[in-house]
């Protein structure tokens, strides 16, 4: 007869043994495929279609599968060795662009890359009003300047414009504007069909398991320089600490956007490399230019004077940003240095008094939480700074859908007074930011979140956009930017940095300086 304790012990032993045995059996590791690189990131792509995607990070990762028509350098010249279009000509009036295409390139499904693929991609997807393109407003309102695109011969493509459009090349080089394989869509039923991800890039798409992972493998027939890695797995791990644990445990090789608190430790760790570059993600305080105190430029200037941006960057953002000295970053066409806006609370109070608010005023301040780096903490710090000069703000911490709704109401219905939000420059041309936030229509028709009202500046922005001569454009941008910097329709505080940490065995992991984007086309693993 077994005593109860013995029986209990036996049960516990059986359970534990079963589990341990199972674990040991399964812990025999299978031989790894050659040169696998594992990346971990916090959110799911949501879609494979670049026209529908809101994630800059995922779009840039998929840019290794579907490529853009052009690659340009910081002066706006095509780099022929890296581009699908190797050269171009512009007509003297700036209305016709002719591109010569690279020969011998194939899509991953075997079909040839040629002029008709380029024509189809633009006419049937980017310019087609039946295909939703939510981020299209950032591309001159989904390529409004382009009248049509036609194939001159198999390897020559012509773009006909309605009016001269300076930023055209920069747009065509954006990581978000890619060339699709028409046959995949046509076979599946049309340009809106749900199709596998097929492109011309150095990596081929293998699978996407929702909330789990995306798998890519090397395209052995790539026309350019092939990456060293043969397989890339991007695992979706929502918890930042878990991502870090996976890196430390060796389960992951690369962590995109690591938790800032850990970065100093990681920099000290010889097994890992931390790479950070200034990016084009600018964070700003927007103010409703048509409401109350914010109609007066002095009040808006006071807001910027009241905020200690250097302290914010150093203490709240832990050095992962740079205070803004212009509306765009130096790698964007049209950049000039306008000088960082100083921290001067005394001046702020003085300006408020001059504008008729000696005792300050009250306003609401909306902020998302977890959308931008330390957004909530930055908003709280700003609240404190503003209180010091008499502006009493009530923080409205909103979840993303509520926040979007709050910010995109029409002027006669909107309750937006102040908010913390950001932009990410996607096309390396100042026109994008200027038209979007100032020159173009107000929300919800357009993207001017501050309901900007200076008609003269708006006209200048339009003129600069339609000017084919880059030198003239630069002069115009200098004037426009200076006026805007004075007027402060929104207080641009800082540009965030792109950070990535990876194991010392990894090469070619490039955080690019476009907001939240990464270039994995040269990923390789050496040793280990």
């Amino acid at each position: 007869m077994i005593s109860k304790i013995k029986a209990a012990t036996i049960i516990i032993i059986i359970v534990v043994a079963g589990v341990v045995g199972g674990v040991l059996y399964l812990t025999q590791t299978a031989p790894k495929p050659e040169k696998l690189v594992t990346i971990v990131y916090g959110s799911d792509p949501g879609t494979l279609d670049t026209l529908q995607s809101h994630s800059a990070t995922w779009t840039s990762i998929f840019n290794s599968v579907q490529e853009s028509l052009l690659k340009i350098d910081s002066e706006g010249n095509i780099i022929p060795s890296k581009s699908l279009a190797t050269s171009y000509e512009v007509s003297p009036d700036g209305m016709i662009y002719t591109f010569k295409l690279r020969k011998g390139v194939k899509f991953h499904d075997g079909t040839p890359f040629n002029a008709s693929a380029v024509v189809w991609s633009f006419m049937q997807r980017y310019l087609n009003k039946d295909v939703p393109f939510p981020e299209g407003a950032g591309f001159a309102n989904r390529f409004d300047p382009i009248k049509y695109v036609e194939a001159v011969d198999d390897y020559t493509v012509r773009f006909y414009l309605k009016y001269p459009y300076g930023p055209l090349l920069a747009n065509l080089a954006s990581y978000r504007i890619v060339i699709f394989s028409p046959s995949t869509y046509i076979r599946a039923g049309g340009p809106n069909a749900d199709v596998p991800l097929i492109g011309t890039g150095p990596f081929k798409f293998v699978e996407w398991k929702l909330n789990e992972r995306v798998v890519l493998e090397r395209n052995e027939e790539y026309w350019g320089e092939k990456p060293g890695a043969t397989r890339v797995v991007i695992k979706i791990v929502p918890e930042a600490t878990t991502r870090l644990s996976m890196l430390l445990a060796g389960d992951a090789d690369v962590v995109l956007a690591p938790p800032p608190a850990e970065i100093p430790n990681l920099r000290q760790n010889p097994n890992f490399v931390v790479a950070d570059v200034p990016s084009t993600r600018g964070i700003m305080v927007i103010m409703n230019n048509q409401w109350g105190p914010f109609k007066d430029a002095r009040v808006r200037q006071a807001v910027n004077y009241a905020i200690d941006k250097e302290a914010l960057v150093k203490n709240v953002l832990q050095g992962l940003a740079e205070v803004a000295d212009s509306w765009v970053t130096p790698n964007v066409f049209g950049y000039i240095s306008l000088g960082k806006w100083p921290y001067d609370p005394a001046k702020a109070k003085q300006l408020l008094a001059e504008a008729g608010y000696p005792n300050g005023f009250k306003a609401t301040f909306a902020t998302p939480s977890g959308r931008y780096l330390f957004d909530l903490q930055v908003a709280q710090a700003i609240q404190a700074y503003l209180r010091d000069v008499g502006i009493d703000v009530e923080l409205l911490v909103q979840d993303w859908p509520t926040f979007v709704k709050h910010l995109t109401a029409p002027i006669n219905e909107t309750k937006m007074q102040m908010a913390l939000t950001g932009y990410g420059i996607v096309v390396m041309d100042a026109d994008g930011v200027l038209t979007s936030y100032f020159g173009g229509p107000w929300v919800p028709q357009g993207n001017s979140l501050v309901y900007y009202g200076n008609e003269e500046v708006k006209a200048m922005i339009k003129q600069a956009r339609e000017e084919p001569d880059p030198k003239v454009r630069l002069q115009l941008y200098e004037r426009i930017m200076r006026i805007l910097w004075e007027e402060q329709p929104q207080a641009l505080l800082y540009f965030q940095k792109n950070v990535v940490v990876y194991s010392k065995n990894i090469k070619g992991m490039v955080p690019s300086n476009i907001a939240d984007t990464y270039d994995i086309t040269q990923l390789d693993r050496v040793g280990g």
Binding site: M1, A8, P134, E135, P238, S245, A249, P401, V404, Q445
Partner: protein, 310 residues
């Protein structure tokens, strides 16, 4: 008995309908517009309208509900507003993942918890009882979030014997399941141990136990045949309910371990206002709970012959 079961099943239908109405309405009362979230902050009003029309959100609410119920009858839960992929296969896959995790957690927790509880009860007051009580208190109080991270730090980062998260191929690869299952089991072990202990103790104090002893039954018989069986009633309830709870997915553990289960899916869907997924997931939860409750009630009848359902 059969009549009872059939009646329960029939009564479940109005419950489910009620749940769908409540969820349908509630999720549409939340501020925020899925069309705007999909379109993004930079989209024009036209874009948003196009998307709203494509999603059918510009129709009156009762029409949307009617269309949802009609599709439901054909077992079509619609398409996710975000990925455009059909909802039902997605829910089924995440449910499978959660199911695997729930089963393994129960397999660990139920025997261990019950056994600890019994030993505690039988040796009440002695050292082993005190140890067991502290142990179960620990299990109940430790937040899953913290325990999960600690386990990862110990087994994945320091000892490097187990992966730090994610799911394996195939999904029942134990190496990936064991840590999240232990995290979930810890709480259940604590609960079950306490529950079993008090249940057994209260049963041991009953008259019929004294009678059995007086009749000369051995300690073994008294404890395992008489006491245990009667003590199992509340324990079965807890176990059943907990299984239902585990099946609905435990968001915190799934987030920490990057386990692609139902909990995470639902929380993300609510965040994004992805109505079809929220509706589909809640519907499945209600079905799970109704079924689990029914099974628990049936088990009652087997455990306690006094309980009969007319």
């Amino acid at each position: 008995m059969l009549g009872y079961i059939l009646r329960r099943i029939v009564l479940a239908i109005p419950v489910i309908i009620g749940v769908t109405i409540i969820v349908f309405a509630m999720v549409r009362f939340l501020p925020g517009d899925p069309a705007k979230v999909i379109a993004g902050i930079a989209a024009t009003e036209e874009e948003v309208e196009t998307i709203r029309h494509q999603l059918g959100l510009d129709r009156p609410v009762w029409e949307q509900y009617a269309s949802f119920m009609w599709s439901l009858l054909r077992l079509d839960l619609g398409k996710s507003m975000f990925t455009g992929k059909p909802v039902l296969p997605q829910l089924v896959e995440t449910l499978q993942n959660t199911f695997v995790l729930a089963v393994v957690s129960m397999v660990i927790a139920v025997p261990v918890g019950i056994v600890i509880g019994i030993i505690s009860a039988i040796h009440r007051g002695k050292v082993i009882d005190q140890v067991a009580i502290v142990f179960s208190l620990f299990g109940v109080s430790m937040p899953a979030f913290w325990l999960g991270l600690m386990l990862i730090l110990l087994f994945a980062v320091t000892l490097r014997v187990l992966p730090a998260g994610g799911i394996g191929t195939p999904s029942w690869d134990l190496r990936y399941i064991i840590l999240p299952a232990l995290t979930l089991a810890a709480h259940l072990i604590g609960v079950l141990a306490r529950m079993t202990r008090s249940s057994v103790l209260s049963v041991l104090g009953q008259d019929y136990i004294r009678t059995a002893r007086a009749k000369g039954a051995t300690e073994y018989l008294v404890n395992y045949k008489h006491a245990l069986r009667n003590a199992m009633l509340p324990v079965t309830t807890i176990t059943g309910l907990y299984f239902g709870y585990l099946l609905s997915g435990t968001v915190l553990t799934e987030t920490v371990f990057a386990w692609p289960g139902m909990g995470r899916l639902l929380v993300n869907a609510i965040s994004n206002r992805d109505y079809p997924i929220v509706q589909g997931a809640v519907l499945i939860y209600s079905l799970i709970f109704i079924t689990v409750n029914l099974i628990v009630d049936i088990l009652y009848a087997y455990i306690d012959p006094r309980i009969r359902y007319e």
